[in-house]
Symmetry: C2
Subunit: 289 residues, 2 copies
């Protein structure tokens, strides 16, 4: 009997890579983690075989994955894109960067991710979204919190959907905060938590705003779905928001909710709603209202 093939994990920062490794262990699947230097902390991964790899050391990364018999792999966690100069690409990296081309490297995040996924595939790996390996990472449609959005909140959610969609078309972000019809903040590369942090000062009196976070229309569905978790709820509550609206699971696409039980109980404790929605349906309801 041969051991099951290990799941490869290219791990950036944040808790997402750890949750993927946990899910694999629960499923009895071995893991090999390539930790991106400066982003994933080796002290978090002592339970799994792992190696630390510099972001520009593409040849070393491929070698480590192959040495550990990795074929299926998941990219997870945040990596701040470095400047091209500071990447210090190794020989393999230079070869692939030339192939991928300037446009992907200097385009939006989505263009770069698609190029990375294509390269991994050509090298014989099978890159997957974490949600393809562990389907229950995606939240199902519905409102699992005690608080529910009222008609005003739904109007703010509809406005947020149209703003986030316009942004997504420009491959420039996927989140925004709307309060009483006003767009308080729009997310670029600062991240959702940083965007929420500035909303407390921008908010108006009266009913609080909503965070709307969407899957980008052109988003590489495999490796860059929106993620929320308890930290998102805490940041939303601190910003005076009334709730959070995300897209529900639709096949292998949707919103990854980390530590779902904690996320929901934090929302209930703070009186926030969490809505997992079909964005098209929400927009249509507004037109018919």
């Amino acid at each position: 009997m041969t051991a099951p093939e290990p799941l490869g994990l290219i791990a950036g920062g944040g808790v997402m890579p750890l949750r993927v490794a946990d899910a694999a262990s629960r499923a009895g699947r071995p893991v090999f983690a390539a930790l991106i230097e400066g982003f994933a902390d080796p002290r978090d991964f002592t339970a799994w075989p792992h190696e630390v790899v510099r972001l520009g050391a593409v040849g070393a990364l491929f070698a480590a994955l192959r040495r550990n018999r990795v074929r299926q792999l998941v990219l997870a966690g945040r990596v701040k894109r470095p400047s091209f100069l500071s990447l210090r690409l190794d020989g393999e990296g230079v070869r692939l960067a030339a192939k991928v081309g300037r446009k992907a490297i200097f385009g939006g995040d989505d263009a770069l991710l698609r190029a990375v996924v294509d390269v991994l595939r050509e090298e014989g790996f099978d890159p997957l979204g974490a949600q393809q390996v562990f389907a229950d990472l995606l939240i199902e449609g519905g409102c699992p919190t005690r608080a529910r959005p009222d008609a005003d909140a739904m109007a703010d959610i509809r406005r947020g959907i149209s703003v986030a969609r316009q942004l997504g078309q420009a491959d420039a972000g996927q989140g925004c905060v709307v309060q009483q019809g006003l767009v308080l903040a729009v997310e670029a590369i600062e991240g959702t938590d940083a965007m929420l942090a500035r909303c407390a000062d921008l908010a108006r009196e009266g009913p609080g705003g909503v965070l709307v976070k969407l899957v980008k229309p052109s988003q590489s569905k495999l490796v860059d779905l929106p993620v929320i978790g308890p930290d998102t709820i805490r940041a939303a509550a601190a910003a005076g928001l009334r709730g959070v609206a995300v897209e529900a699971r639709n096949g292998h696409v949707g919103t990854i909710v980390l530590d779902r039980d904690v996320t929901i109980s934090e929302a209930n404790a703070a009186g926030l709603f969490l809505l997992a929605m079909d964005a098209d349906q929400v927009l249509n309801q507004g037109e018919n209202a």
Copy 2:
């Protein structure tokens, strides 16, 4: 011989209302300024007849304007939109709010401004953009700085144009910062200077980013054109940017540059470019490059 009709000025915060009053005085035109309480500072307006008016006191505002024989008037300066509850509308305000309707009041800034301009017109006033009274407030096309954008900066400017246009369609902002193809920040209601303030931490190594600020496609051309000035240049330099790109004058539409000589000399001192462009032409050049 009768005195020339005074120019009415509904003044919010910032230096813009003062520059309008200065320009009127230089042109030998009397001014009556209605200062929005909490935004315009009466100590700045001692050179002109003025009254302080609470934002919700619409009837009092109209009465003050009529008492001072105002017909032509300019809205200038920033007003943070209050919540509806904190407005404390007077009787006239309640009547007009009911007429303007919930959609304008709770829509984007642009929807509200259009409604305000319509109301002023129906009340017999003649609301104008500052640039309609003083055409030289708008910057002409060209690059008045010693530094000029190179090919990489032009690529960032083109990306910024497409992001800002998508945003403008959602009536949600008109500015963004792009560096090496990455959208570092997108402006909502925090204002350009606040957006620039967060860019220093988000910037990558290597060539700095550019600020792109556009006229919103649906923008009320009369009263809400983009404004830059020496503060914008200083904030852009502090954020590590290479330059600022805005739309040049096209009829009565374009970008208002406050204290132009100071703005240009600040840019030269910091090594930044200032480009006043035709955005369509810049996009087309990119496609043909």
